[in-house]
Amino acid sequence: MNLDAYRVSIEPYYRSVGDEVAIFEAAYASRLPVMLKGPTGCGKTRFVEYMAWKLGRPLITVAAHEDMTAADLAGRFLLSPEGTVWHDGPLTLAVRHGAICYLDEIVEARQDTTVVIHPLTDARRVLPLEKRNELIQAHADFELVISYNPGYQSAVKDLKESTKQRFVAIDFDYPAPALEAEIVAREAGTGGELAHTLVAVAACSRNLRGQGLDEGASTRMLIHTGRLIAGGVPLEAAIRSAIVLPITDDADVRDALDAAIAACLP
């Protein structure tokens, strides 16, 4: 089977903020599974795309959701005129053909689902398909990456200890202000000064984390804001639409945030 559709052909923009590239490369060299931790919109997915491009591997992404079953990952029998036909799931596809499989927001999936990755993430590197009575030895290039946001998921949704301990973790956070401004300016195509203002706005919202906001504005939001502005939306309106309104429904929090944002604007 050809995985060319899953290849990342153009270099994605990724600005390294620390030693994460080196750690990932080292982990990949030994085919150690990797866990990316960090708040939403700080560049986890972009990082995986970038690494897939850099390592020249196809990338198969699965967004986990709470109704996801093991069959959704591993594969299932489908009906055909002749009878049933087996259809590989995304994980099986990656295991067979040697791709990077990226399970996004893994904790969203039910815990019984996540255990299918256990045999793949220790020394065995196998995927048992009990429905087909098949044991797949992972392709030499296969690599498993999961992302995990410990902040906002609720207490009941946490990774099992037995799952957590199989991974090499890389911690992501929002980049330092100067770097974040550079990223926003590059991605949104805005001027440097505007990018700095947006980063200051984000800092205010991040300060309110846990004080009425579940999460502060992410780098992704800033880029969206920058693009709105580049598209001709005035600064205040863009911030309101792309930052304030999405992150809070609470009128009191919004008032405080609006006041703080007003203080950031020139």
């Binding site: 009878g83 049933t84 207490a155 205010c204 300060n207 009191d252 703080a260 203080a263 604007l265």
Partner: protein
């Protein structure tokens, strides 16, 4: 004189003819009123007067009414005056003739404040109500009336009176309130009609400051109201005491959005002081005028730095810089202009001092991070002012513009001789309030108790409550159950300080938010998948395959090949038993007692349960021997969870022992009466059962175990959360291993308790 068309007036006239002392005044009043109204229209007035006569209000009261009638005759109808008289008669009945006379005396004076008939009747209604409830306070309340009416009309006055009546039935306390000795009363009078004030805006301001400055080292948005100094009516400035920003309750005369902006401006300014490093200058030989100048430059310095980081703060502060050139040679006016000159680059001022300040400040701007420039420039400006012999009124000086703080935080008053204290006092008199870093030290309100291990405190016999029931107890040593061995009594809950409690809850905001999310998830997200349904929203692949296989095999396929989902129905009743025995008084490293943490945990749990709409009750228990097992119902099943319940929770005090088995049995009786599919008793305890009349605590643990088993037999699940930092607990022994959760770190309790609840309630 009265005629037949007006029988009441005629009767009054007859009565008055026999009263030497009153006749002349009556006739005069009657004449004044008759000029405007015919006798029939005067009937209500006459009836009112007659009422005053009938309640024996006395001559001075009648004279007061007539004086008022003459004075108000042009504006009030006789009916309105009659209503006043009848109300005064009512006041006289309850509070005596003197109070009634006083009310009638001040009535004409308040006329300007009581413009409409509605307001007038409201005024008298409030007074009559007060006279009924607290007769001794009528005159005192009336003394504040003019101010309250001026500020906010009868509504303000009513709020004041109602608040005063809520102080309690204690006469002395009420008197203190209405004579404005109570700080609460002072605040009410001060802020009448104003607003929104600090109380309404506190939360928003806290968030605002957090958003701006939480990243800075050492900055915690710690806001408190500024204590009201007795009898001081000058408008005041924000004060910074240590890490605490103290804002006035209101800024007098500023309402609505203007108040919101001003509070924000003031909070942002004070926070900038704290976040950008507050220097402390030694007071040494610094004179008041120098203090003012140095404070002024320091304000400009930190504002410049703050605006570099947050340019929008300029828009927040600019509206308050309104100083204009004026000829008066007053230092305070000149300083306000200097402040504006430093803030507003476009401001023109003929006085050389402004330009000088600007130049000095500009020259020093490369060193803007250094507080020493404030001292340096300030001192030089002060010298100029002194040389020009401009008068500086240290006592009356108020920092301008209004949003700035009083500047006292800049000064280290360390060791100073008496002479200096006096001079400095002079300077800060207008703004100074005695420094109290923490207004409410948690220890202060608790009487000193012996820090014993908590077991076995003797009880006072007279505070036993109503008997709720008798329960058996298991005697493990003898192997028998003693019938009717223990007595359960109900003790009324004491109200606690909800405000302080709410603050403590707010400090745990992140945790509450997490629990809130759990609530939302449990409420909406719990759809269960139903496989192999006859209809549904998606194909059930497995069923479809089976059906296809059957068809190929020539069998009749099962038509149920769909998946549907159904909402999870909650039908759960929970009774939370809270151990308040003496050992919960122990303090943790954080300074909070175990009971404090228990309260927070229970409050969060209660919010979660209320959010889910689950039926629940909160019951605290303790015991002092088998005759006196005390239960306090903080919340019963049939009522909702609100302020009153939170207040009862906040009011829990530690004391006595833990006779768990009996408490469990009674809890079982209560929850058994609730109609619900699942019944759950959650026990929150900090250790092993014990009591003063039981020598071997193991007996009580065995009894508790037996109680748990008998509850289980009745379909009631019992779950124990034991605070057990030393992991010795008998929790597993009592509740069973699967139903006990020892909590090692007591600080974790709030989260663990709620987590447990969600886990249990899903089963």
């Amino acid at each position: 004189m009265p005629v037949a068309a007006a029988p009441v007036g005629a009767e009054l006239g007859r009565l008055m003819r026999g009263r030497e002392a009153l006749r002349a005044s009556f006739v005069q009043t009657w004449q004044v009123l008759s000029r405007r109204h015919d006798p029939a229209a005067l009937e209500p007035w006459a009836a009112g007067t007659l009422e005053l006569v009938n309640v024996n209000a006395g001559a001075s009261c009648l004279l007061a009414f007539w004086r008022a009638s003459i004075e108000l005759s042009t504006r009030h109808s006789p009916a309105s005056l009659g209503m006043a008289a009848r109300a005064a008669a009512d006041i006289c009945r309850h509070a005596g003739a003197r109070a009634a006379t006083e009310m009638l005396d001040i009535y004409p004076r308040l006329d300007g404040r009581l413009a409409t008939p509605d307001e007038r009747s409201a005024w008298w209604r409030i007074l009559v109500g007060l006279a009924r409830a607290a007769p001794e306070c009528v005159s005192l309340a009336a003394a504040s009336a003019e101010r309250l009416l001026a500020a906010g009309g009868p509504d303000s006055f009513e709020t004041f009176v109602m608040t005063g009546l809520k102080v309690g039935t204690d006469r002395a306390k009420r008197l203190r309130f209405f004579s404005l000795e109570d700080p609460l009363a002072q605040r009410l009078v001060e802020r009448a009609g104003g607003g929104p004030g600090f109380a309404e805006l506190e939360q928003g301001l806290k968030r605002f400051l957090t958003a701006l400055w939480a990243g800075s080292a050492h900055f915690q948005p710690n806001l408190q109201p500024l204590p009201t100094p007795a009898g001081n009516e000058v408008s005041r400035r924000t004060n910074i005491a240590g890490p605490v920003i103290r804002l006035p309750d209101i800024f007098a005369g500023v309402n609505g959005d203007a108040a919101r902006s001003l509070f924000r401006a003031a909070a942002a300014h004070a926070a900038a002081h704290l976040a950008l490093g507050a220097p402390r200058f030694a007071i040494g030989k610094v004179k008041p005028v120098q203090m003012a100048c140095i404070g002024l430059i320091e304000d400009a310095r930190i504002e410049t730095r703050a605006m570099r980081r947050f340019p929008g703060l300029r828009r927040l502060w600019a509206p308050y810089h309104v100083a204009e050139p004026v000829p008066e040679p007053l230092a305070s006016l000149l300083l306000a202009r200097v402040a504006r000159g430093l803030f507003d680059p476009g401001y023109q001022d003929p006085d050389a001092l402004i330009d000088k300040a600007r130049n000095l400040f500009r020259d020093a701007s490369p060193r803007i991070e250094d507080p020493a420039i404030s001292f340096d420039i300030g001192t030089r400006l002060a010298n100029d002012i002194a040389q020009r012999r401009i008068r500086f009124d240290a006592r009356g000086y108020l920092v301008e513009p209004i949003y700035r703080d009083d500047g006292l935080c800049l000064w280290d008053f360390g060791d100073q001789d008496a002479e200096r204290i006096e001079e400095v006092d002079l300077a800060i008199d207008a703004a100074r309030i005695e420094r109290r870093e923490t207004d409410e030290a948690p220890e202060a309100d608790e009487p000193e108790q012996s820090p014993s291990s908590g077991r076995a405190r003797p009880k006072a016999a007279d505070e036993r409550g109503i008997v709720l029931g008798l329960y058996p107890e298991w005697d493990a040593t003898a192997g028998i159950e003693r019938p009717d061995w223990t007595t359960v009594r109900s003790v009324a809950p004491a109200a606690g300080d909800v405000r302080e409690f709410t603050r403590a809850l707010e400090r745990a905001g992140a945790l509450r938010a997490r629990i809130g999310r759990l609530v939302r998830a449990a409420k909406v997200g719990r759809a269960t998948r139903l496989k192999r349904q006859a209809e549904g929203h998606a194909l059930d692949i497995d069923a479809a395959i089976d059906a296809a296989v059957s068809r190929h095999a020539g069998e009749t396929p099962d038509e149920r090949v769909f998946i549907s989902s159904a909402r999870h129905q909650r039908d759960l009743a929970v009774l939370v038993l809270i151990d308040t025995s003496e050992s919960t008084r122990d303090r943790l490293a954080s300074g909070a007692s175990i009971l404090d943490i228990e309260k927070i945990a229970v409050a969060m749990l209660a919010e979660a349960m209320a959010g889910l709409g689950d039926d629940f009750a909160l019951v605290a228990f303790s015991s002092a021997g088998r005759e006196d097992v005390r239960l306090t119902h903080l919340k019963r099943f049939e009522v909702g969870y609100g302020q009153a319940e939170a207040s009862c929770l906040a009011g829990l005090q530690p004391g006595f022992s833990t006779r768990l088995g009996t408490a469990l049995r009674h809890a079982g009786t209560e929850i058994a009466a609730v109609r619900s599919f699942r019944k759950l008793i959650l026990v929150l305890t900090d250790g092993e059962p014990s009591d003063i009349d039981v020598e071997n605590p193991d007996d009580l643990a065995q009894d508790a175990r037996r109680a748990v088993l008998s509850l289980h037999a009745r379909g009631i699940d019992t779950f124990g959360v034991t605070l057990d930092p030393r992991s010795v607990g008998s929790g597993a022994k009592i509740f069973g291993k699967a139903n006990a959760m020892p909590v090692r770190r007591i600080e974790d309790l709030p989260m663990r308790l709620s987590e447990l609840y969600f886990r249990l309630s899903r089963r």
